[in-house]
Symmetry: C2
Amino acid sequence: MFSREDPILIAVSGGKDSLSLWDILWRLGYITAGLYIGLGIDAGIAYSTTSQQRAENFAEERGLILHTFDIVQNYKYSIPEIANRTRRGKGKPCSVCGLTKRQIMNRFARDNDYRVLITGHNLDDEAAVLFANTINWLSGYIVRQGPVLDAHHPGLVRKVKPLFRFYEREMAAYALLRDINYVYDECPYAIGAKSIYYKEILNTLENDRPGAKLNFYLSFLRAKDEGLFAIEDQRNLVQLGTCPTCEQPTSAPGECAFCRLIRAMDTVN
Amino acid sequence: MFSREDPILIAVSGGKDSLSLWDILWRLGYITAGLYIGLGIDAGIAYSTTSQQRAENFAEERGLILHTFDIVQNYKYSIPEIANRTRRGKGKPCSVCGLTKRQIMNRFARDNDYRVLITGHNLDDEAAVLFANTINWLSGYIVRQGPVLDAHHPGLVRKVKPLFRFYEREMAAYALLRDINYVYDECPYAIGAKSIYYKEILNTLENDRPGAKLNFYLSFLRAKDEGLFAIEDQRNLVQLGTCPTCEQPTSAPGECAFCRLIRAMDTVN
């Protein structure tokens, strides 16, 4: 995944997974810095403000560098506002949020010479995504899933998920034992999300047959490794262009999806 | 799957699926005969006796031919007794029962020149098997699953499942509307079987998102058809031998698994 010499950028949300992962890497002596992306989500519980404080306190206590990138400062509007003002939102800001975070994370890592970008996705997260893709047999998504996404194009940073073997409850236990002060709340907009629904189904399977979730994900990786799939990860085949606005790689012919989103917002005003 | 000229053998259990399927084919004018395999299951509810009566009445009412093959008459012991007397049983006769039925069905169809053997497996059955194989990523089983199993070796009869698109509740409705008198009880030994557990999980998915079960199975067939899998169905690659006892194709070096089972029984006595 990465070596002790690689400068690692860790995406930090202020939740248990990313802060615990950062704590583990810090204790093991890896070269890390955090990136907190301010999404401007309030939802009556000051969600983003609290998350940022937890991340900042964590970094300060350990003398670690935490970069921050604030969406409102940079683009004038928060994620829910951007979602409301564009068609991509459709009442749920999750799609806009994912697109934005992916764009900012990669751009920040590239511009600051980080060789690897890591996220705190745990087994429950990864198994739920795999389950969603499998229950609908979305071939393109199934074959590209895994804990390591190589930087298959110049300008893209390698992405890895070191916690893919750990249950969510294990990460919560780690955070508790290490006395890490994290944000307990899920993002208020995640309520009713499909990923949470699939997590519940997998929890049922896990309760009835302990180990089912881990087995589901690891047996998938094994089957993939042993050559079950004929289809190539399309990302390796597509020739990417460069977005004229943000200069990041994009599969779109002109501007990337993110820059088009921001431009659509400007037009609305 | 089959043409109007093919003599079709339909495996009949006395349940709603196989009797409804037989009724449909009969009404459509296909050349069919039934095969009832007497398993000798009593379990306090005369399960096999009742099932056979229902199948016989059904055939008689329509002037159809029903062949019967009785396990106790041919092998001295019932399926539960065989399971109890052999290691393959392990307290549950399901594995012995499946092996026996597959052997008898194929042998009977071949010996009597039926070109196609059909079973009443419905969407719920097929989706549950696919779910079980996918949740454990059993590559070999995943790639061979489908509603048509070609006769890829001489001595093997083509097997098809014409009801794979129909929900169990649709077949129950058909049987009800057509006034078909079928066995309501599930096999008493199926209680606690994994297949029933996975059916319940799929029912939860279906209740929450109607169409989920059909979509799961059909999107699998589509992905397979579009070349998702690299692995060949191993059955096409393995050179089969001939069992010296029953003269059926087998992947075993000597006697086939079924004949070894029967021999193991003789030894116990």
